[in-house]
Subunit: 283 residues, 2 copies
């Protein structure tokens, strides 16, 4: 697929994700976090465009494009981390889409991209953390903020896939997408397409966000607040799958006040939107 089309779909996916509203606990049109505002997400989504174009044109080097995406996201806005998880999910999809002859091939090719990472990709992953502070599941003894980790990654010959595999047992959903062929991402895309036609992207994004949260405990909530809280949120989301928007607005206010931020669920929503846009959906 054309590299500009892929990049445009990636940027627009990030814009439609953050504009889905209300997304309980996350930044959206009407809700900022202190220091990280809606506009920071807009700027970051635009700033990464040329990196996604390069990723789609290059057909490899997924670690490099991830690191460059993180740098571009940082350079275009002064808030906190906006898109690390989203970039981790979207970058292999963009590399895959650039190599695909049609949208139907993207998932299979993304699986191959995720299966064939190198030690250099792992090193680039570690270099991301020179630029952003992200709360991550610990990668065993290879702390992403320890400058010695990169040497150790090289010494042990670990690929990016190896690094991500170390995160899966702890329940990292983005790492799980990498290892299992992006099932939640493409399921979300298939759910989004008809809902966006019926309701428009704003409400469709909210509904699929709730479904994604109901599927599994949110990784970011689990890291920040513990697994029990993440499971509790999952259960609460499940009970609200058909709730009226007014009820979701109320729940949103409660989660925001408690700083309960299901950021990984928003990343997966961005992935689903990206896949739906690659298949040709336009607002």
């Amino acid at each position: 697929m054309d590299a500009d089309t892929v990049a445009g779909c990636a940027s627009l996916a990030m814009l439609l994700e953050v504009s889905g509203d209300p997304k309980p606990g996350n930044v959206d049109r009407e809700h900022d976090y202190a220091g990280t505002r809606y506009e920071h997400f807009l700027a970051s989504a635009v700033g990464v465009y040329p990196v996604f174009r390069a990723a789609a044109a290059s057909r490899g080097h997924v670690g490099r494009w991830l690191r460059r995406g993180v740098e571009a996201s940082r350079a275009w806005q002064q808030g906190g981390n906006t898109h690390f998880g989203t970039l981790l999910l979207l970058t292999p999809l963009a590399v895959a889409a650039g190599a695909a002859r049609s949208p139907g091939e993207v998932q299979a090719r993304a699986r191959r991209v995720a299966a064939t990472t190198t030690v250099e990709d792992a090193v680039e992953f570690y270099r991301c953390f020179e630029k952003v502070h992200v709360r991550l599941r610990p990668v065993e003894d290879l702390d992403v903020y320890d400058p010695h980790s990169i040497r150790e990654v090289r010494r042990r010959g670990l690929t990016l896939r190896d690094i991500l595999r170390l995160s899966v047992p702890g329940g990292d959903r983005i790492a799980g997408e990498w290892l299992h062929g992006f099932p939640a991402t493409f399921r979300a895309a298939r759910r989004l397409a008809p809902l966006m036609e019926r309701w428009g992207p704003r409400e469709a994004a909210v509904r699929v966000y709730m479904e994604l949260m109901a599927e599994a405990p949110d990784t970011l909530v689990a890291i920040k607040r513990g697994r029990a809280w993440a499971e509790r949120l999952q259960g609460e989301a499940r009970r609200r799958l058909d709730a009226p928007l007014e009820e979701l607005h109320r729940w949103d206010r409660r989660l925001l006040a408690a700083g309960m931020n299901p950021g990984t669920t928003a990343d997966l929503l961005a992935g689903g939107l990206f896949a739906a846009l690659l298949r040709g959906y336009r607002p």
Copy 2:
């Protein structure tokens, strides 16, 4: 300036403009027009990115990039016209920025771009209307929707500047920017920079939007509702320059209910944001 930086600033300007809220009478985060929604503006802002990059890299052919921008804006969304006026204002600035060694040169170079248009640029301007329906001030006897006009434009040897000059006496503000060196655009940029630092882009955009509306009658309102209404809105904006946001929300609801849409004022705001971003502002 780097072509990707220029394109990113153009797309982000369009995103910050539509996200400025409340912008009385216009589409913003919380207000759609029937058939033309906030998301259509997001998609259009991303879709035109590669055209702005090409415009910045090419250093000429302003009419071609305008027409391609209009086509890209159309191709990425299914709503009505989102950005014709904005593209007419931003395209010469992007060509100028691509050729500029520093942001301080952009206005002088944009003046030169606007002064040196060709007959081919005029023909490309007419070709835009094969793709979008826009309410425009009549260009004397050269109706933009008449397929014979292009032949007549060639026969008379009219440049794009000539065409825009025919629109100025009727009060077209974007054409006025072209002919007079983009004064309102760069004045808005100088006003926006400190306000964005103080309040963030959402409220700064609203304040400068009100100032732009208070400066002159809005072109789109004048075309759709007549000059008297446009002047009345100008006066009402002037009285509300320091109004609290709550009062602007109320006025917004009244204008939207009346279909009173100062779209040209929003185009000028996008121009001011573009110039401020080119000078290095980041949210």
